[in-house]
Symmetry: C2
Subunit: 348 residues, 2 copies
DNA sequence: CTGTTAGCGCTTTCAC
DNA sequence: GTGAAAGCGCTAACAG
């Protein structure tokens, strides 16, 4: 019955040490303005009791929960888990906790998460918006008064900083590389064509292909393995089959690769392959797969750093909202030349 | 200067609605025992003000932060990120937040994380201990009075439930399968041989190999790609080269596979390969790699469910500590037969 | 049904 | 140097 499990409190520490709560509080917060003896005594009691200050009480006073939220589609996705890892490191360096929530790209869930995080008084938010153009999301963000940083996909038209990959340029570079190899019919495969990132990459593909006077071969139906099979077979058996494949995402690249393997189509001899977004085994498979690599870890780190920059600015100077103007940070991609595009890298 | 950014409070809602704080509070908590008109009016004010209750204040009263902590080596690791994803889903279902911290297998960092989580009054903890036998960790866990569930690696000798993979049996099954194929010299490759999971897998390997009267060929030096190369070349050029490779972890499997590919060694004709722990592209590479699959997602889910079971038990009945006895839940692995071990699966 | 009131644990003036 | 006391926002008796 007796709930002895309760944590010891500051006043208990004070009582046992024979001092006032003020002094005890001072000891906890650095021990300034406290005589050496008192300090030692109080510290002793704290240690004995295993006292840990209650942040809820502190938050209640100081308006700082020392928690930041991260809202991503999925954390099982290597792209986002890498971002999360980086963000968590930055959070820790700033003595804060990282709270992770997932949306699975559902706008509804996203709003819920946002609400929950607000309820818990997160100091700031990092979010990969399910829908960049969602009005509900923008309204929500406009309403809350804490710093928000968007990653991977920008929040259009809102007072948030966005940290994103230069998808357009990355895709453009990729296609130009393929063109450089001499391919004339470059097909573009993808799924989830409504996502911001995918749209940008398609734009990059179109631009490059059109600038070179090559045909624009896009198939946005490749949502799963079966679809990849259908799509590729159709392309291969068409009157004018493509000589290169540009896949717009991780999964699609894998599906395409696997399908080609199954069909016994030689890569890159019969058809070349270049994918957007690197993945762990891209270098291990035969042939190794050339990709456009995103600065994954950097995205998470920069986003978190920007967030704390704002948070700290708010702590020192005026209100956190001050001097908070929208910005968009675009990070460069990198073309990793492996074998599938026709390159013969000396080092795999 | 005016910090108008402050969230509206309950009393403000009450005042604007012309009611007492109790009534306002009741409205927030379901609206029972409140007249319909009052209820509507208060709700209106809440909506207008965009009022959100302050959980810090609630926590301060009720001793429930509705946050659970997850301490893992790394979240960029697919094993743990999948666990995290599952755990986060369960947390959400229980109206709680998941706080993720990473240790990178450093005991020191682990203790720090534990402390931080305690400070924030997490309701419960899920942890993948850096060192199963760490005394400091056990002491720490003994000191705190919240439920703790260990995953992947058990915390020996403490009042925590452990949810782990049956590493021993999984490895044993794997080797028996290899033996079934007729391989006589099965080498076991791994790194991080001090980890609990790896030890168990080695135990399984030994047992199976010895029971069959086969030689025990273990190399625990395969920490990176270079080491894999060295190890495999050494094995291959030895007087009696192995005819099968059993790799104890994800990374090692990949390193081994890649090395064999580079050396042009045919799999499984010249040497078979079977790895512990599945990974995304294991089925995409040629030959596809047979593996022992862990119930990754299940581990995270079960651990979280167990945690909330205890938490809920505590909410209803007596203290959370009551009826909390150590237990160990062992989840079964599954042999995924692909091509690298010599099997010819009909469906890849 | 509804309001008053007393804290939860902590920080912070403001006196001594 | 030190302590008393006033709340931070909320919930829960305890009266009306």
């Amino acid at each position: 019955m007796t709930r002895k499990s309760t944590h010891p409190t500051l006043s208990e520490v004070a009582r046992r040490a024979g001092v006032g709560t003020t002094t005890a509080s001072r000891v906890i917060n650095g021990g300034h303005r406290v005589s050496p003896e008192t300090l030692a005594r109080v510290r002793g009691v704290i240690k004995t009791l295993g006292y840990i200050p209650n942040p809820a009480a502190r938050t209640l006073k100081g308006y700082q929960s020392r928690m930041i939220g991260l809202i991503v589609p999925s954390i099982a996705d290597s792209f986002f888990s890498s971002c999360a890892e980086a963000a968590q490191a930055v959070a820790r360096a700033n003595d804060s906790l990282l709270i992770v929530t997932t949306t699975h790209n559902a706008a509804q869930t996203e709003i819920e998460n946002l609400t929950v995080l607000m309820r818990h008084r997160a100091d700031g938010l990092i979010i990969a918006p399910a829908d960049s153009r969602s009005q509900a999301l923008r309204d929500m963000i406009a309403r809350i008064d804490i710093p928000v940083v968007a990653i991977d996909r920008p929040v259009t038209d809102a007072r948030v900083i966005s940290v994103i990959t230069d998808n357009f340029k990355g895709a453009h570079d990729a296609v130009r590389h393929l063109i450089g190899h001499g391919y004339k019919r470059i097909a573009c495969l993808t799924g989830e064509s409504n996502l911001y990132t995918i749209c940008e990459r398609m734009r990059g593909y179109r631009k490059a292909v059109e600038a070179a006077g090559l045909p624009c071969l896009v198939d946005t139906s490749v949502e799963d393995f079966q679809a990849a099979g259908r799509s590729i077979k159709r392309l291969l058996t068409s009157a004018k089959p493509p000589d290169a494949l540009f896949t717009l995402k991780n999964r699609t690249t894998i599906y395409a690769f696997e399908t080609l393997q199954k069909l016994g189509i030689s890569i890159p001899a019969r058809i070349a392959l270049l994918g957007f977004d690197d993945f762990e085994l891209a270098s291990a498979v035969r042939p190794s797969i050339s990709v456009i690599q995103q600065p994954v870890e950097q995205i998470g780190r920069v986003a978190a750093e920007l967030l704390f920059e704002k948070l700290l600015g708010g702590r020192d100077g005026g209100s956190p909202a001050r001097a908070w103007r929208p910005r968009k940070i675009t990070l460069e991609t990198k073309l990793i030349q492996r074998s599938s595009c026709g390159c013969s890298p000396s080092v795999t």
